[in-house]
Amino acid sequence: MGAVVGTLTMQTKQRQPSRDKVDDELEMTMVCHRPEGLEQLEAQTNFSKQELQVLYRGFKNECPSGVVNEETFKHIYAQFFPHGDASTYAHYLFRAFDTTNNGSIKFEEFVMGLSTLLRGSVRDKLEWTFHLYDINRDGFISKEEMTEIVRAIYDMMGKYTYPALKGDVPKQHVDAFFHKMDKNKDGVVTLEEFILACQEDEMMMRSMQLFENVM
């Protein structure tokens, strides 16, 4: 009887052995990824050697295996926005950085993205932003895609905002955006329309300079 009781109580805590084996195998296959040489990266990006060193040290410390997967990325990003839910936006951001689309960000992709954002030209930055908004990578930003992005951003705000979020604020925001960006009113925004509209916006151009000194 005791044995029966024992097994009954213990079973709830027992891990599935089969699943563990799979995990172990995965661990074995995920070899440490090493980035290309420092000189190569220096040539490809606009960072100096010291900056690359600092970046890599931080990156390697956080991800000893050399890659960031989406879960970790979402977790990290969520730390910065504790009020709301940052997972959706983090997902889109992850996809924007993951240029090879293999579900993980290597150091090269990480550094390239940062180089564009921090040291790139205005056009480069705008292109990067366009790619962020263009979820299905078809070269056009549709209203649905934009709504998704905007909703994700508003999700990060959380519930308690001032003034309170009433009505369908994301939709209004998207409508305003399209009104500004969509020149030929065909319902989608192309890259050229986007860049043109942004360059006309003086406020935005000024703000672009703000983030240069982040590194």
Binding site: V5, L93, T129, I153, M208, L210, F211, V214, M215
Partner: protein
């Protein structure tokens, strides 16, 4: 924020470029970071062991000492490094925390030392990694228990009672700690003896004795010597009742006392007797009366006051309540299952003992605990099979929680052993501390005697003074400053008691006037000087006018009765630094001399004012009586 998130912040900020097209308003200005952007290697010197790390590594945790600007306080300009005068071995772990984000607890280190280091470096212990958390928690709990016990032991038993404790408090102390006074010890042993007597009497009562003459039946001794046993029982119950009432009277919190386990046991031990007295000799009720007599056996539990082991056992069982509960629950489940199975298995057999499931409970219990009386045995094959399974599983179920209980008991028992050892050490330690304290104060007095307080030039200072360390000099100077501030001087016990004695002599002779008592209060620390001055003043006292006396009288109302008993208690105290004879908070003390003319002639020691320096002005008029000087009660 979690570890290393700081590394990702620049990344998140860079990605904010993606919000710009959507932004309705201008972005705010970014904070200006004046510090140099390049990462540099910092040198941290901990008691000679040099650690080097990137500045970024330390900046990861900005709310710790090393990550914030607090470390600038420790920066040494000459050597261009941060110097900490702390344990270098521990620092290794602290630095590893910055590097890896996980704090590990080194098992060979003392938990308190580790905690102190963490507190110094501003690291909260909650972030200890899972690998080391359990060990850390266990040792911390153990340490805290130990400390709590020590403080409890300090406060509870051997501290001397405050001098003005009521008899009730003394009584309670005597009950709780019998070894504090002989009376308590005697009482302790007497009650123990009577508990034993009572229990033995209960036992012997039932033993069959030789029958009475003319009868063949064997009587239990209780009925043969009924009167004797009754007398013994009465005596025991009287003692127990008396003890209980005394405890109830002495208890500081009666409600709490009444709810405590020991008090309940006491009540249960004596109630049967009283109920027996009250109940009539009725046939119907005597059955219940017999049941009540069973409760007399609870008197044996009163021994737990006398035995520490019993108390430990009780405490262990209480602390293992969950394990015991689990044991009981699983046993109950097992009993029910097996009893049902056995009942149905043996149902077919003729003349079987397994008449019902509850009847099978007995079989199951006996089998599971491996007693095996053999009064109920299965006959069918199925019954035998299930019976064997039952006995095997019984062993397992009972064996599981027992080690937990045993380890708990062992831990508590060892803790108690430790407590006893600590108490013995405490006495020695306290004596040593008292001696050291006395030494310091004596040092100061000696310093004064050797003329340390006067101004010397370095040559003429006595050699013994020179040899004192600068710390001692400064300390003595401080004490001297205090003396000057209060216009009183330090003295030692002997001179002080002498002074009090002499003053009380004068005090007793003129008890009718409260003035003298008041003056006695305002004491001087230098008895010889006071005596001399008093004699000098004796001549001047007669010139006091009556009016001043009345004013003095009114002023005396403020003073509470300076009774002689305070004096005696003061004499008994070993405080060296006290200046006033009276303990009470005096805000006013009359410095003037005038005494009531009527009662002074027989006084040997006329009232003398307190402060030596002011005595010179004592000859002034009665207006002086109005002045009241604050004598700081030291």
């Amino acid at each position: 924020m979690a570890a290393g998130v700081a590394t990702w912040l620049p990344f998140a900020r860079a990605a904010a470029v993606g919000w710009l097209p959507l932004a309705k308003k201008t972005m705010p200005k970014p904070p200006v970071d004046k510090k140099s952007r390049n990462d540099e290697i910092l040198i941290v010197n901990v008691s000679g062991l040099r650690f080097q790390t990137w500045k970024n590594t330390l900046d990861r945790y900005p709310d710790t000492l090393l990550g914030s600007s607090e470390k600038e306080f420790f920066y040494n300009e000459e050597t261009q490094e941060y110097f900490f005068d702390r344990d270098p071995e521990m620092f290794r772990h602290i630095l590893n925390f910055y590097r890896t984000g996980k704090l590990h607890y080194p098992r060979q280190e003392c938990i308190q030392a580790f905690d102190e280091e963490l507190a110094f470096y501003g690291i909260v212990p909650d972030i200890i990694g899972d690998c080391c958390m359990e060990e850390y928690r266990d040792r911390k709990k153990e340490n805290q228990e130990r400390l709590a016990e020590d403080t409890e032991a300090e406060m509870a038993t051997d501290t001397p009672l405050p001098p003005n404790s009521t008899p009730r408090e003394r009584l309670w102390r005597a009950f709780e700690n019998p070894h504090t006074s002989t009376m308590a010890l005697v009482f302790y042993y007497v009650t123990g003896f009577f508990i034993a007597v009572s229990v033995i009497a209960n036992v012997v009562e039932t033993v069959p004795c030789q029958p009475l003459k003319g009868s063949k039946k064997n009587l239990p001794c209780g009925e043969k010597y009924q009167v004797a046993f009754f007398c013994m029982d009465t005596a025991c119950v009287l003692i127990f009742t008396f003890e209980y009432l005394m405890r109830l009277f002495a208890a500081p919190s009666r409600c709490k006392f009444m709810r405590s386990v020991m008090s309940v046991i006491d009540v249960v031990a004596i109630m049967p007797y009283y109920i027996g007295l009250v109940m009539p000799e009725n046939e119907d009720v005597s059955g219940a009366f017999v049941t009540l007599r069973v409760f007399r056996v609870f008197r044996i539990f009163k021994f737990s006051r006398h035995s520490q082991g019993l108390r430990i056992l009780g405490y262990t069982l209480k602390s293992c309540a969950s394990e015991l509960g689990f044991l009981l629950f699983s046993l109950t489940m097992a009993i029910i299952i097996f009893a049902t199975v056995m009942f149905y298995a043996e149902k077919g057999t003729k003349g079987t003992n397994f008449t019902s499931i509850p009847a099978s409970f007995w079989y199951t219990i006996v089998t599971m605990t491996t007693l095996g009386y053999g009064d109920m045995v299965p006959n069918t094959i199925a019954g035998k099979i299930f019976g064997s399974i039952c006995s095997l599983s019984g062993v397992l179920v009972i064996a599981l929680p027992v080690p937990v209980i045993v380890s708990n008991f062992s831990r508590i028992y060892h803790q108690n052993q430790r407590a006893d050892k600590m108490r013995a050490q405490q006495k020695v330690r306290l004596a040593r501390i008292r001696l050291a304290k006395k030494g310091t104060t004596n040092a100061f007095l000696q310093y004064k005697e050797e003329g340390g307080l006067q101004d010397h030039d370095s040559d003429s200072a006595a050699l013994c003074l020179k040899n004192r360390s600068s710390f001692e000099h400064q300390h003595h100077h401080l004490l001297h400053c205090l003396e000057k501030t209060t216009n009183h001087e330090f003295t030692d016990e002997l001179t002080y008691s002498e002074m009090c004695m002499t003053e009380s002599v004068g005090y007793r002779t003129s008890r009718s006037t409260s003035i003298s008592s008041q003056q006695a209060v305002s004491s001087s620390c230098c008895p010889r000087r006071a005596k001399r001055r008093a004699i000098r003043l004796a001549n001047s006292t007669v010139s006091v006018s009556r009016g001043s006396v009345q004013e003095l009288d009114t002023l005396q109302i403020q003073k509470s009765t300076a009774g002689p008993q305070s004096r005696s208690s003061l004499n008994a105290r070993t405080e060296d630094l006290k200046l006033n004879c009276d303990q009470r908070d005096y805000t006013a003390a009359i410095i003037s001399i005038p005494t009531p003319p009527a009662n002074t002639p027989d006084e040997s020691l006329p009232p003398s004012p307190a402060v030596p320096g002011i005595l010179r002005n004592s000859r002034s008029t009665a207006s002086f009586t109005h002045e009241t000087f604050k004598v700081s009660s030291l």
